[in-house]
Symmetry: C2
């Protein structure tokens, strides 16, 4: 990739990738920006503008080649680079995320799950045996995962992150209620499902006030 | 609320609300935009700009009154309006979300959980008994929940949403892999945890290419 792509386009790319994967899986070989626009509830001009950032894969009167575009977006997102991840925390959230997520088509292979609770160490989550948290340092030094997913209690977030950074981890997906601050040279993605509830609350109250309900 | 607030400010408000709640819970009564900026990794001018949308709660040399600002943002988000929600799907994701989420401080009271699998009907999730999905129509007509949370299999998403709209539901938080399309008069928030993985993959590969690793 030669060209710097804007942050807002990058934020939209995973959604393009999901839609193109669904189209590809349904055997659809090409799609017009108009039809993609209808499926994604995005204007056709937004789609053309977003996808033109990468040199424009569409041809007038032909539309987009679904497989080609899907592959290009996967390349841009780095989904085929074989990145690896470990998860810390084998509670409800860890278990659900590890079980429900198509890691490998999202760019990562989950190679280890760790917990400090002896009651869950040794149990199996989606084919991975939960290891004792005390073993994580050696595991990281040996296997050099690119990323750690944190599903630990709020109080433990900062200290676990600092310990893992000490072992060489440079990226985090953090599910715990406590936000990880941005740190120099460290990539952080904080996930807050409650924020979606608050946005819904706002939208419902806005509609209430406009008298639509 | 008199003034129309932009979508991007609204998207940031839940985060302000979380940070202000943490400050309030720690007994902090007032905070400067500089200190709030440091804690939130947002520029102080961004904070002033965002919060000035609502008439500006800050005073030069005094900073923001934490409780007042938290309460104002809660009012704007409609968190104190006693909205109610039902959940459809008592699998891993439904169970985890119902258990881990502070619904009431996020604007909603969860009043019912439904599933079509007889094996989970009657079980208890965080104090709520799972009911048979066949009973949801009567329940909605009687209790008029404002919103439904869908944690159903991909294939069922569209038909469940259509059925619930028929019963009067006008807002959805959708966790299933299949996106719900925007529909006239219906509020939809689709949640895709895998998108965070793809964004991380992008950021890691971008860093790889810049030779930082």
């Amino acid at each position: 990739m030669e060209k710097k792509v804007s942050g807002s386009v990058i934020n939209r790319l995973p959604r393009y990738y999901r839609h193109l994967t669904d189209l590809y899986d349904s055997g659809i070989e090409r799609i017009s920006s108009k039809e993609l626009s209808r499926r994604m509830d995005v204007t056709a001009s937004q789609i053309r503008q977003d996808l033109n950032c990468f040199g424009g894969f569409g041809q007038q009167g032909y539309g987009y080649n679904v497989e080609f575009l899907k592959t290009e977006i996967a390349n841009i997102l780095g989904l085929n680079r074989g990145y690896t991840a470990v998860m810390v925390g084998a509670g409800n959230m860890g278990r659900t995320f590890a079980t429900n997520t198509k890691f490998e088509s999202r760019g990562f292979k989950l190679i280890g799950i760790f917990d400090s609770d002896p009651a869950v160490v040794g149990s199996d989550i989606h084919g991975i045996k939960v290891s004792a948290y005390s073993e994580i340092g050696d595991f990281i030094k040996e296997n050099k995962p690119c990323m750690a997913i944190l599903t630990v209690p709020k109080e433990a977030t900062k200290s676990v992150a600092e310990e893992l950074i000490g072992y060489g981890i440079k990226a985090f997906m953090n599910f715990s209620y406590s936000e990880l601050r941005q740190m120099e040279g460290i990539i952080v993605e904080n996930v807050h499902l409650g924020d979606s509830l608050m946005r819904l609350s706002y939208k419902i109250s806005e509609k209430d006030e406009s008298g639509e309900r």
